[in-house]
Symmetry: C2
Subunit: 350 residues, 2 copies
């Protein structure tokens, strides 16, 4: 689709370095140097130039700079969805780091779709990002090819990829869910149900589900109580809907393990409105440690994941990879994010 700003389709002339140079009676190069704090320019000329820069409100055109230096200053960043405080927080923390490094984030959301991810990457590559950050949720073969050909560091987040494209930062969702499930079994729960999205192929939600199944089967228990509902990201409302079907889904269950805190809160809400007591009648467990689960009543047991920390550490990894003076060979290929189980009021201690 074509765009224009002016009816006559001629963009307004911009103020260029040449204009500043002329006004200051120097060459473009001197202006260019005056704007870089570490370049050799006499203090007087620099002062004079900067004064003119301010007077003319000159703003350098970074497209031209990029073309010349072959450094875009972009960090391509993909998230599954912003509509999830976890991802939003990690993006915000990462963005704060990027600003310090002098990188501008290019943000896109995949909507948990590998095809959308492929399109986004394709379009972002036109901007020549210096690093690519994306969630590990399974990529298309073409995505992987594009990533490798981009010839810049690739960082996969939120998982421990079996076949990493480049760097990775995260934790094993399978392990985490398995650990929580085992802990629940240890606390005496036997008929645990699992709540997750309906279309979660390749997502980390599916890994959690598999971890749950493995833990149950290893303990000789049945993992047949599976409720699949709602497209990713599964919401509070989806959880409420599921919880409203208590008799159908959970009549013989003693615990409901949800793929994230959002549906856990919704399930809790639905159970409450049916006068079903938590944890006396049935326990509810989430995943992610969203703020809401610390203040609901009862508070929700969950798997604590430090989203801000993940974002911040991603930024630090990028700094080590891109900023001068680091031995790139010494940078770890994977950074493990700790998760811990947090038992609160929605499960009984038994």
């Amino acid at each position: 689709m074509s765009r224009n700003n002016k009816p006559d389709n001629k963009p307004a002339a911009q103020i260029t370095m040449e204009d500043v140079a002329r006004a200051a009676g120097v060459s473009r190069m001197t202006v260019s140097r005056a704007l870089k704090s570490d370049s050799p320019v006499s203090p007087e000329t620099r002062a004079r130039i900067l004064k003119i820069v301010r007077k003319l409100n000159y703003v350098p055109d970074q497209s031209a700079g990029t073309l010349s230096t072959r450094r875009s200053g972009f960090a391509a960043t993909l998230v599954p969805s912003l509509n999830n405080l976890h991802f939003a927080e990690s993006v915000q923390a990462l963005n704060e780091q990027l600003e310090q490094i002098g990188l501008q984030m290019l943000l896109g959301h995949t909507g948990y779709s590998a095809e959308r991810e492929e399109r986004l990457i394709e379009s972002m590559l036109k901007r020549r990002p210096e690093v690519i950050v994306l969630p590990f949720d399974g990529h298309t073969p073409r995505t992987i090819k594009l990533l490798k050909q981009a010839n810049v560091p690739v960082i996969e987040q939120w998982e421990v990829p079996s076949k990493p494209v480049g760097y990775s930062i995260g934790f094993s969702n399978w392990q985490a869910a398995r650990k929580m499930t085992s802990a629940l079994i240890e606390r005496g729960y036997r008929n645990i149900a699992f709540v997750s999205e309906s279309e979660d192929a390749w997502t980390r939600g599916a890994a959690r589900r598999a971890g749950f199944e493995d833990a149950m089967q290893s303990a000789g228990l049945s993992a047949h109580r599976m409720v699949r509902y709602g497209k990713p990201p599964i919401s509070i409302e989806d959880g409420y809907h599921i919880g409203s079907g208590y008799k159908e889904h959970f009549a013989d269950a003693d615990c409901i393990f949800c793929v994230s805190d959002a549906p856990a809160f919704g399930v809790l809400s639905a159970l409450k409105s049916q006068q079903i007591r938590v944890p006396e009648d049935i326990a509810v467990v989430g995943f992610g440690n969203f703020e809401v689960s610390r203040f609901s009543s009862p508070t929700i047991s969950t798997v604590e994941v430090d989203a801000r920390g993940l974002g911040r550490q991603t930024g630090e990894l990028i700094r080590r990879l891109l900023v001068d003076g680091t031995d790139i060979a010494s940078v770890p290929r994977h950074i493990e994010i700790d998760v811990r189980l947090s038992f609160r009021e929605s499960t009984s201690s038994m």
Copy 2:
């Protein structure tokens, strides 16, 4: 801070249009035309060129394109914080629209700081955005100057600016809070307290506070029950903290009106843990209609704001401004977003 990818500091050579042209036995221009669907190229040559493009995995460098066409394809977008589902949803909705128009979002968060906003705008202007979207929370004089000089459409969101820089889309926070307060008074509440951030100068939170005060005073009631706590964005946890000081703050109040749903949920949680009944002992009201307030118990009365709709309509406004074929003079300078009061269980109907 300087960056490099390679130890030798020489970026890898990229595949250029020239490479494709050579392989296809045509000139660069023909390749360029073949890649634009609406340019005149014979079907055969186009097919041949596209085949080579795919084989070489050629990705055009948009920096060069931008330099030539003077169109960056960027939409600078600022939000106060992503750590707020409202903003996150509006950003996501806007981003979906932008993709259709063929614009790439440049995202930054101001953290409710006018100085940060100024720095962000300054840095984004280097990318020559074709449109600038930002929250109305009061700008520095320099920010306003920068915005005007940018010579592109500016869209302020979430308020009805008294002195708009360009276009605007939103609603009057003052009016909305005033309306809710009046409705609460009509329902019999007299000693209403207001909960808001501690440092909210220039923010929309302050406008809500002022609307509350005006409504109280107009009704001959005292607006002295003000609790200010937590930096923006005020969180669930801040609300919990405030609610925990029930005796200190709310002993003689009959209703707590919170500047957003997040602290309202926190207040509710704290009251519950002190065995204070809502709405029997005291009512609680929020602002924004976050998902959580529809599923808490009791459900929270609030001012409904359609964040996704605001994002979507911002995108539509941009389309009208930038896409060919629209008479720009016919585009409204302000788009009003409807808000409605939603009374739920946390207030009694009286």
